[in-house]
Symmetry: C2
Subunit: 915 residues, 2 copies
């Protein structure tokens, strides 16, 4: 049939040909021409060039788009001829005709800018259908219902996208849907699929009548009119409000324009020699190298997605009854698919997720993209691709998403099971835990001692709960965010934790919690009931969900070695016990960046001595209690230092306010009083006297050393006695003593002098020489501002970004859950600043701190030991700022190693670009 | 007698004559020669030059000191001759002879560097006495006991200072004191004065024997030997460890050296024609221009100080019985004294504190210095001196100590009364208050309503107590520092307040407090007992101490006018009520820099509506309660805006966390529940739900607007309705709307848009045009760091230095009292950073904030509304940093005006010096 011509302007304003064809194993363009052809057009050209059987088509350039706007919504001269040639190109390859009554060619018309703008612009499918060609389609497909359903959809889509028939207001439904619903109702059916061919044909009539009535125009029956209308509509959609807003958000200029892709429609539902499916070039869960996918015979792509029919495997499955795979049923198509997949993977150098259709025995590849995969597969595939010579190690590293490693490092739930999710909190520390509910740390300890797996449930946790947290399989709290006490401690322990689960209403007295489910009646969970926690998703499930243990693949070790070669930043772990230290070493930690000494104070044998110290009336009493604590602390440090042999161990002297060690409940107070032999009222009085309005800003850190110097003295003695004893045994120890919460030069000067004096006297007493350094945490804004004066007395700085974030923002992480979600929802904060470092504010202070610190001590060693130490985006910042190391929980060490490698590779790239 | 010669070096190393003589109405040097003669030597020369009868003497230069050290503790050539001439000069004027047996000349030998180093170096008095001359002194004075007592003291002092007979260790007592004590014990007497001449003579013998025994040398009997020994000792003392440490502290170089002053001793105790006394050239309490002083006949200076005898007035007292004044008893000496005083005042241009002695009818001026005075006298004297033409206005302003103005502005206790001080806390807000003790804000309100003067006593205060604080005469708390809630609010109200009185043990249940006095048995004070509080000294007194009301002298107004002419900084007040606003205007405030809206929420009629708002379940409920609050807030703002007509009023939208408005005690909770018609448990639940771990860092400030935008909307409506109504009546109003606790650009962007929208809709509704601005408090470190982005949406910045200090230091002012005193005691912090701005840390952030803020908005108006706004040292900083204004409590406005003038004058001086 003859092609109608569109309205053409006289302008000749394109530097390149207006149309580029592709398909049939060749293309006029290639994958690098994104600016001219858009991402999709360039991709289709590239696939064609390398012999992938993509449905043929052509791309109208972005220059034409600009010309279209320049000409006042007219097409540039010469375009019509090129489009006609393009359609002829398609007809020739597919063997059908545009508007042909016997074997009509249908095309899709899609937008495609140089960057993906998903859903922002318009698309028209099945173009080329009209009252005549639909009959041809019915005949060719042997399926009149399919033909009319396609026609119905096309008319509606065209009416909406090209002709602009939209709902009159936000409150109105889509008018085509209204007609569809009316017909279903009239026929007494619920599903579209229950309508028959006659219904669909009638609907086409109703749709067209609606268009005429609402818009005063006829639906264009002429396929060429349809095509030019669709091309114009796609160009116009470049300036629709959604697209304009999207570009504004990302700063993309209007001048980029969009290309238009016109491509043959192919159908997998024209008979039993047709099929459609999706295939991964490697197993997306494990990374195994085999085609892994599903298909449906005689079906459309949407049927696979809809799940109405059960798809069959693409490849023959070993051990399965067989006979249903594509490999067996369509060996030729399967062989072509395997060939295309191999070609695609080789070309893109990564595992691909490929959509394909077999139309009458002929394979078409509709789309390919890098396939989504699990953390395990991510690691395996990258390592295999390197082994296969497809990519180099650098590329393999850059392909890793550090956060996804987390999946490999914790046990996970077997999600194939049905689960009863009763509440959802914040996934605060990944992992999966199953256990019986207890509501106090004491119960947790008792139950655990008799071998029970327990989940500790608290409104929130405090340092007193740490013993219970350590023995619990998982922790669930009603309050607190991603960096609440529970979350931080749990992550440090690598323990599953769900926080801020607001639906919990805990009744400690009744030893039960009531969960007000949003969707149903409340559930009551009592002490001893079994629940399951997913620390990644924040789900709380009733009963025991099956668990899968992690096994680290060999590929993981290989990748980590490459990462270690690439990175500059050292990676240490935060660890408080020999067990954690050993675990950290296993994960590749190169030292301990933060060993908190307060957790040791909560040990069963120590807490009483600690409380005696706190409740003592004078220094003499405190020293007596401390003398009992000394040997225990010395053993702690001995364990940690020897577990980290040869690596530095940064030990932070006591940090929390003393009241955290005292009991708060009357019963506990009575116990403590009895143990100490004083009146409960006296203990209660002391507890009350130590109460603080803002403990975060209170009497803690180095301030304890100013008022009670004997505490740090004893801690330093314990550290150095352990270090000297080990050194005498030939163990290499590298203790780094860290003073927390320093804000004034004089604080550090004074405390450093005392630390050095004690350390040197221990060295003299024991007659062993041990090198030690003394540094400070930088966790107050003032410390950053006066870092030059502080650096005079510091061998190292370790940025405590948790507290620095709290003070810089004036934001208590324990209280922020009340309003921080609103901030994120309203877009005031792009993300929780306790999870990813706030580069602008907190980072600005860190920059000042580093610059001033190194201005007086150029070689100053600088690290970070906050929660952000294991956050990949933050690690990049630390790399850029010249940190020496990051420190994070043992379970995040591999993630930090990888992130550090990424930062180094990105940095090298930047330098190259700058050259 | 002949002079013995000292050991002389051959070095001729002094550029100036080695000795300068003074006395007899002339001097060889003058007051400008401090570098050569030291401060004391130059002063004595200056006084001599202008005819003041100072005891004659001579000064050995600092050059000689350096030569002494250069020569290895030898005197330079030629010095001996000059010293002999100097002594001859003294002998000639005084009419006595050095070593003369009949009328012996005694001299003092004193150090004197170019700056005063009090107590750091050595002094020898009564030099020239020996076994022979002491008899001459006894005869001349007619008082053998005096002569031997002088001799005894001289030998001991010489033995210590020159010969170096010191205690063998820190634990040993002064060996001369040991001998004295032994003799007193032997004689069975308690006081030195009970020993007779024979005792003293025997002691001289024992002292000399001790010197011989311990040092192996004889006490030098020869006066010339004594003199050279003393001169050498004074030079040597320049390098003693005390002096070296002192110089190190201030950075004074060793090369300055010290001069030595040798001066005739004069005695006021040689008979009834002798006297000694102290006189102020003006009344130090009132500034009245008259000689004001005391003297004793036939006495030594130390007798006046010791208070053993009651001194008599120098001048004739009107209305007194008379007959005992110096004016009456020694008219000639009195006339000479008056003449000398007039001359001194004219010469130094300031009120002088003059020590004098009359020896045998002859007046000697021993010392003069600027006299200490009360705030009232400070003001009066400066204004009078300007009126008399003695100084100019600039000088008068620089003479004012801003803090001392405080005395003028508050009522004070009449300290002539006997008082029973039962406890001592921190003088947190000056003033004097007498009233009956109550232990709750409610009782304070009830008692005050029936006309009782009450003192509110609390462990600490919270915003709930503000109503009670307002009606109380004074506030006393057991806990909290100079910037605790009680202190800040009280200062804002200009109300007497004593905080942190740790001796109080309050029993709210028994309505009493127990005060454990350090020195005796505890005192119990019950509700209704009367106490008196001194807000300046922190004293708590039992019973009612009489009060004196302040009357502002005319001189004060004059000085303030000069200050206003001199300063660049504007001064505003922090005021929350029309009364405070009016008071602030009286004190010269040029607007309100901080009007807190939360105090209004505690008003009797409002608190219920406020609580309804907080306890509402949803926005609709909150809006309903806010609708009731709106008209009340509108009235508040109407009052304040009209009291400040023509001046800007910065109104801060709601800042504190909502839980501060809710009751905490079960009884109060029950009341509220009843009033609101809900179950007490529901109120209790809500109170518990709003509990915060760190309220300082919690859900407050602009964060309230993010979660409950309706609160600010209603406040802005109230402000603008009041402003528009006033404008319609022709009242000039300048509202400035301030958003607290902003840390993110987007917070301010969003809230500003809402504020502007509400304000403009009110303007449109009321049809009146009112100019308004919208700005923000800068009180978080992050706000300083990102000030450039925040400034894009801020018409003004007001630095909230209270919170900025808390967050920068990571220091809760409510909790700091536990360790801040230790910091100050140990010298870690030079001063409480909540009282005087920490220039290095907090000031460093302020500098960053201003620099970045003005980088995008050069004309950005910048103020400060923290407590530091009224602190003179901090005001200087604000001036230097280019602030536009400071804002402080109304009572501190005059102080800030004066401080601002000082800063401007100092700044001008710096500029002049730089030219």
């Amino acid at each position: 049939m003859t092609a109608t011509a569109p309205r053409e302007s006289q302008a000749d304003c394109t530097a390149h040909p207006p149309v580029y064809r592709f398909g049939g194993g060749a293309a006029e363009a290639d994958g690098r021409m994104k600016e001219l052809l858009g991402g999709k057009g360039a991709g289709l050209a590239e696939m064609s060039r390398v012999g992938i059987p993509v449905p043929p088509g052509f791309t109208i350039t972005t220059e034409v788009c600009n010309a279209y706007y320049a000409g006042g919504a007219t097409f540039p001269a010469g375009l019509a001829e090129e489009v006609r040639a393009g359609v002829a190109h398609i007809e020739q390859i597919v063997g059908s005709g545009f508007g042909d009554l016997q074997n009509p060619l249908l095309v899709s018309v899609r937008s495609g800018a140089r960057v993906s703008m998903p859903g922002m612009m318009d698309t028209v499918l099945n173009l080329g259908l009209n009252d005549a060609t639909v009959e041809g389609l019915a005949r060719v497909s042997g399926n009149a219902r399919f033909a009319y359903d396609s026609y119905r959809r096309f008319v509606a889509m065209y009416g909406d996208v090209v002709l602009g028939l939209k709902p009159a207001s936000d409150r109105e439904h889509d008018p085509f849907e209204v007609l569809l619903d009316a017909r279903k109702q009239a026929r007494g059916v619920a599903l579209d699929t229950e309508l028959d061919t006659a219904d669909l044909r009638a609907l086409v009539g109703e749709y067209k009548a609606l268009i005429r009535e609402r818009l005063g125009v006829d639906f264009p029956e002429q396929p060429w009119d349809q095509l030019w209308g669709a091309i114009g509509a796609v160009f116009s959609s470049w300036e629709n409000p959604r697209a304009v807003a999207y570009r504004g958000m990302y700063g993309y200029p209007s001048s980029w324009g969009t290309a238009v892709n016109v491509q043959a429609m192919v159908f997998g539902n024209l008979g039993d020699d047709c099929a459609t499916g999706v295939v991964f070039t490697r197993e997306p869960a494990t990374g195994e190298r085999r085609l892994y996918g599903e298909y449906l015979l005689n079906a459309q792509g949407e049927d696979v997605v809809a799940g109405v029919r059960t798809p069959q495997p693409v490849g023959r499955t070993a051990g399965a009854p067989g006979g249903e795979s594509l490999e067996e049923l369509m060996p030729q198509a399967h062989a072509e698919l395997a060939e295309a997949c191999a070609r695609l993977e080789a070309h893109f150098g990564d595992m691909q997720d490929v959509e394909f259709t077999v139309q009458q025995g002929r394979l078409w590849i509709l789309q390919t993209r890098s396939g989504k995969r699990t953390g395990r597969a991510m690691v395996q595939i990258a390592a295999d691709l390197v082994a296969e010579g497809a990519i180099d190690e650098r590329e393999a590293l850059l392909r890793q998403e550090p956060e996804k490693l987390d999946e490999l490092l914790h046990p996970t739930f077997d999600r194939s099971e049905l689960t009863h999710v009763i509440a959802r909190g914040l996934g605060a520390s990944p992992g999966a835990a199953v256990g019986r509910v207890v509501f106090s740390a004491d119960d947790a300890a008792q139950w655990a001692e008799r071998g029970e797996a327990v989940i500790l449930v608290r409104a929130e946790t405090s340092p007193e709960d740490v013993v219970g947290m350590r023995v619990a399989r998982g922790i669930l709290t009603a309050r607190g965010g991603a960096t609440s006490h529970a979350a931080v401690v749990a992550r440090g322990m690598g323990k599953c934790c769900v926080t801020g689960c607001g639906a919990l209403d805990i009744d400690y007295h009744a030893q039960s919690m009531r969960i007000s489910a949003a969707d149903g009646k409340p559930v009551v969970v009592r002490q001893g009931d079994t629940i399951s926690l997913d620390g990644a998703t924040g789900e709380v499930m009733l009963g025991a969900v099956a668990l899968r243990d992690p096994v680290l693949p060999d590929a993981f070790e290989r990748l980590m070695r490459w990462a270690d070669d690439a990175r500059r930043l050292r990676v240490r772990a935060n660890a408080d016990t020999p067990e954690d230290a050993a675990l950290a070493r296993q994960f590749g930690a190169e030292g301990i960046g933060l060993c908190r000494t307060e957790h040791m104070f909560f040990g069963e044998n120590r807490i009483l001595a600690v409380r005696r110290m706190i409740l003592a009336d004078d220094e003499r009493g405190r020293r007596a209690a401390l003398a009992d604590i000394l040997p225990m602390q010395r053993d702690d440090f001995r364990g940690i230092l020897s577990a980290m042999e040869g690596f530095p161990v940064t030990i932070r002297l006591l940090d929390p306010p003393l009241h955290e060690f005292l009991p708060q409940q009357p019963a506990e107070i009575a116990d403590v009083a009895a143990a100490l032999g004083v009146a409960p009222a006296e203990v209660a009085r002391r507890v009350a006297a130590l109460h603080e309005f803002n403990p975060m800003l209170g009497h803690r850190g180095v301030r304890l050393a100013v008022t009670y110097p004997e505490i740090y003295e004893v801690q330093v003695r314990a550290i150095m006695e352990a270090a000297c004893a080990l050194a005498a045994e030939g163990v290499r120890v590298v203790p780094e003593i860290m003073i927390p919460l320093v804000g004034l030069q004089d604080e550090l000067r004074m405390v450093r002098a005392s630390v050095v004096a004690v350390a040197e006297s221990v060295i003299a007493e024991m007659g062993v020489s041990v090198e030690f350094t003394v540094g400070t945490m930088i966790e107050l804004p003032r410390a950053c501002v006066v870092a030059d004066t502080i650096a005079e007395y510091a061998d190292f700085f370790s940025f405590g970004t948790n507290d620095l974030t709290q003070t810089t923002f004036g934001l208590s992480r324990d209280d922020a859950s009340r309003f921080l979600p609103a901030y994120v929802t309203q877009g005031l904060l792009p993300r929780d600043p306790f999870v990813e470092l706030d580069r602008e504010g907190v980072g600005g202070l860190i920059r000042i701190g580093i610059e001033r610190g190194r201005s007086v001590r150029p070689g100053l060693k600088i690290g970070i030991c906050g929660e952000h130490g294991g956050n990949p985006a933050s690690v990049e910042f630390y790399h850029e700022q010249g940190f020496d190391y990051v420190s994070c929980s043992p379970y995040r060490v591999p993630i930090a190693r990888l992130a550090a490698a990424h930062a180094a590779l990105a940095g090298a790239e930047t330098m190259l670009r700058a050259d």
